[in-house]
C-alpha cells in the first residue's frame, strides 16, 4: 500500500492509514485504554512496520471506524466531495490499485468528451493468504494473541 501511495501521488491521489483498535491484543500490544497508548502504537506502526503514509488516529471509542463497518483491515476510497467510490472489507493492493486506475480513467474519459453516469457494482476480489506472515504478526503482539486466534479459528 505504501507503493500505491507513491505511485499515484503525482495524480493528486492521497493515501492515509487510519489507526483503529487492536484486533489481536497481546502482551506486547495490549488493548487500548488511553489515547496516549493509541498514539504510541500508531508511532510503532510507522517505525517498526514501515508504514510511510500519513497515519491519522481515530478517537478512542472508534467513532470513525465503527461508522464505516469496523472491519480490521478495510480500505475505502473517497472522492474530493467526500462521497465514497470504493469500499473493500479487506485491504489488497491489487484491488486498490485497480480501482484507482479505473477512477483516474473516468476523469480522462470525461476530458475526452464522454458523458458518464455513476452506477454501483459488486465484485469478489482475491487477497494473498499468507498464514506464515500472519502468525509472525501475531508473534509480535505476544503469545496471548496466538493462543486466542487459534482458539477462535483452530
Amino acid at each position: 500500500m505504501n507503493a500505491i501511495a507513491d505511485r499515484f501521488a503525482s495524480q493528486n491521489v492521497g493515501s492515509i492509514f487510519l489507526y483503529t483498535h487492536e484486533a489481536h491484543p497481546g502482551e506486547n500490544y495490549p488493548h487500548l485504554a488511553s489515547m496516549e497508548r493509541k498514539f504510541q502504537h500508531a508511532r510503532d506502526l510507522r517505525e517498526k512496520l514501515g508504514v510511510t503514509r500519513p497515519i491519522l488516529v481515530d478517537a478512542l471509542d472508534g467513532a470513525c471506524h465503527r461508522a464505516y463497518g469496523s472491519m480490521p483491515n478495510m480500505t475505502w476510497i473517497f472522492a474530493k466531495s467526500g462521497v465514497p467510490v470504493y469500499k473493500s472489507d479487506w485491504t489488497d493492493h491489487h484491488s486498490v490499485s485497480n480501482a484507482v486506475e479505473y477512477f483516474l480513467g473516468v476523469a480522462t474519459r470525461r476530458r475526452a468528451g464522454e458523458r458518464l453516469a455513476p452506477f454501483r457494482v459488486e465484485r469478489l476480489d482475491f487477497k494473498n493468504k499468507d498464514m506464515d506472515a500472519f502468525y509472525k504478526g501475531l508473534e509480535r503482539n505476544g503469545p496471548k494473541a496466538i493462543r486466542e486466534y487459534r482458539a477462535a479459528f483452530g
Binding site: 500500500m1 501511495a5 493528486n12 491521489v13 492521497g14 493515501s15 492515509i16 487510519l18 489507526y19 483503529t20 483498535h21 487492536e22 484486533a23 489481536h24 491484543p25 500490544y29 487500548l32 485504554a33 500508531a42 508511532r43 517498526k48 512496520l49 503514509r53 491519522l56 488516529v57 481515530d58 478517537a59 471509542d61 472508534g62 467513532a63 470513525c64 471506524h65 465503527r66 461508522a67 464505516y68 463497518g69 469496523s70 472491519m71 480490521p72 483491515n73 480500505t75 475505502w76 476510497i77 473517497f78 474530493k80 467526500g82 462521497v83 465514497p84 470504493y86 469500499k87 485491504t91 476523469a107 454501483r120 501475531l138 509480535r140 503482539n141 486466542e148 486466534y149 482458539a151 477462535a152
Partner: protein
C-alpha cells in the same frame, strides 16, 4: 468519547468471538455514491484534523483502516 462501557467493549482485551464479532458490521456501512459521515482524527503529533479535511485535499483519498495488531 467518555462512555466507559463503549470504550472497553470497542477496545476489547481478548480476541474471542463474543468480544470482536459484534463490531464487524461492513454490510451496514455507508453506501457508495452517497454522502458519508465525517469524524475528527488526529495526526501522530496530536494535532486535530478530520476525515473531511483530508479527503477534500485530493482528487481521491485512499483510507486503509487498521492497527499494529
Amino acid at each position: 468519547m467518555g462512555d466507559p462501557e463503549l470504550l472497553a467493549s470497542y477496545n476489547y482485551d481478548e480476541f474471542i468471538p463474543e468480544k470482536f464479532m459484534r463490531w464487524l458490521n461492513f454490510t451496514a456501512s455507508p453506501l457508495l455514491g452517497e454522502p458519508s459521515p465525517d469524524f475528527p482524527l488526529w495526526d501522530l503529533d496530536g494535532r486535530a484534523t478530520s476525515l473531511s479535511a483530508t479527503w477534500s485535499r485530493y482528487t481521491y483519498l485512499i483510507v486503509e483502516f487498521g492497527s499494529f495488531t
